[in-house]
């Protein structure tokens, strides 16, 4: 039995209301059997400075990526991670994190590749929870390890590879969710300072620039209302829920946020995240680039 869904009117207004919870809902359900709260941050130390009581840490770099190949963990690695965090296939996982949930959305997306059924995001993430004065703890839980069955990752539905993106140009919609400066190809021209890890600046031809941040409220990082989101993605950008859409950013973390918005909040049916993103595209030989 999944933990009951959040009946909050804002949550219910979205296309897949079972994918989002409010801070108030989470506060009321903490500790409930079948619920695991997972923090995923950009800053690897943030969890240790204090987290939602009982929350486990899932680190995108150390836990979700293969340490050798640039890819996600495989079926064995994923099963071991879930087991160690006390998660079973029936568990409701609520992700939250810093940076308006970039990394939480990324973790949720990776877990979705493995078909874990009940994954939800905490609207507003870590900042909103803390700003509201809700409880935090530095106690690191020691969950009883579970048995999590080995499930193969399915990369065919919500993940896009470079060759697929190449074939997608002119045949589907591309959304570049990076900042306008990254999209335009303007670099940080400062002598002796590290660049962002790509040899070429610009964007994938035909991609529309819709910075991920536009989907979040500035003050608390929560998602904009469904009407505001429709105004941005459908009215302004001309996307429709039936479109075949690929989103990308630098390494796929910010575009996971946009993937979540389009898929779960607006109900788009065919959205893929190109996690290779600019660090792959901007370094690849002979792929087209537009400025």
């Amino acid at each position: 039995m999944p933990v009951e869904f959040d009946s909050d009117p804002k949550v219910q207004s979205y296309a897949h209301p079972q994918r989002l919870v409010t801070t108030a809902w989470l506060d009321a359900h903490l500790g409930e059997p079948g619920l695991v709260v997972a923090e995923s941050d950009e800053d690897v130390l943030l969890y240790d400075t204090g987290h939602i009581p009982g929350a486990v840490k899932i680190d995108w770099h150390a836990d979700l990526n293969d340490p050798l190949t640039r890819d996600y963990v495989d079926a064995d690695g994923f099963a071991a991670l879930m087991a160690a965090k006390g998660i079973t296939p029936d568990t409701t996982i609520v992700f939250y994190g810093d940076q308006s949930n970039w990394w939480a959305a990324y973790a949720l997306w990776v877990v979705s590749l493995f078909g874990h059924a009940d994954v939800r995001l905490l609207d507003g993430g870590r900042k909103k929870w803390i700003d509201e004065g809700r409880a935090v703890s530095t106690d690191v839980p020691a969950p009883t390890p579970t048995q999590y069955p080995r499930t193969e990752r399915d990369d065919s539905v919500i993940r896009a590879y470079r060759e697929q993106v190449l074939a997608h140009i002119g045949n589907g919609k591309l959304v570049d969710v990076r900042s306008p400066q990254e999209y335009s190809g303007e670099l940080l021209h400062m002598a002796d300072y590290p660049q962002e890890g790509a040899l070429r600046g610009g964007h994938i031809p035909t991609a529309a620039s819709v910075p991920w941040r536009r989907a979040a409220n500035d003050e608390d990082g929560s998602f904009r209302t469904v009407e505001e989101l429709r105004a941005i993605y459908e009215d302004e950008q001309g996307l429709s829920p039936q479109d075949d859409v690929v989103a990308y950013c630098r390494i796929g973390e910010r575009s996971s946020h946009t993937w979540f918005v389009l898929t779960h909040l607006l109900g788009f049916e065919r959205v893929r995240n190109y996690d290779g993103s600019w660090v792959e595209w901007g370094n690849a030989v002979r792929v087209p680039i537009e400025r």
Partner: protein, 141 residues
């Protein structure tokens, strides 16, 4: 390399992998606040663009004098604070020469690369590059 910095690097390298992040957090918690005068005026504070959080640094350097380093990093950015504290503990009070001859890749042997992404580690490189540039400017002024 300056002894104090070398000791910091050894402290990380000699720690078991699972204790390196807690150690970095200890460093983060030990970063001294900005002196009141700098905090009030914010004069000379330079943003560290390579960091993914709002980190600022100031360098007080003159020929023949120990170099003083000041960092301002928010509590919500503990990794960047930890990096700033590594540089502070290792290089605050160093001679200009010690700073200018610090290897740019000094942090490679700390054993943090399995735990912290390359992009984050570049934040540390960026801080050192900025400190060096400030010191070099002060020496040629």
């Amino acid at each position: 390399m300056r002894d104090a910095l070398h000791e910091v690097i050894e402290e990380f390298a000699d720690s078991p992998k699972e204790l390196r992040l807690p150690l970095l957090l200890e460093f983060a918690n030990s970063l001294p606040p900005l002196p009141d005068a700098i905090a009030a005026s914010r004069d000379g504070l330079e943003p560290v663009e390579e960091c993914q959080a709002a980190i600022f640094l100031a360098v007080d350097a003159a020929p023949g004098k120990p170099v003083r380093l000041y960092f301002d990093a928010p509590l919500e950015a503990p990794t960047s604070r930890g990096f700033a504290a590594v540089l502070h503990k290792g290089l605050d009070g160093a001679t200009p020469e010690e700073i200018l001859t610090t290897p740019n890749d000094f942090y490679m042997s700390m054993g943090l690369d399995e735990l912290v992404t390359p992009l984050r580690m570049r934040g540390l490189a960026g801080m050192l590059a900025r400190v060096k540039r400030r010191v070099a400017q002060a020496m040629s002024a």
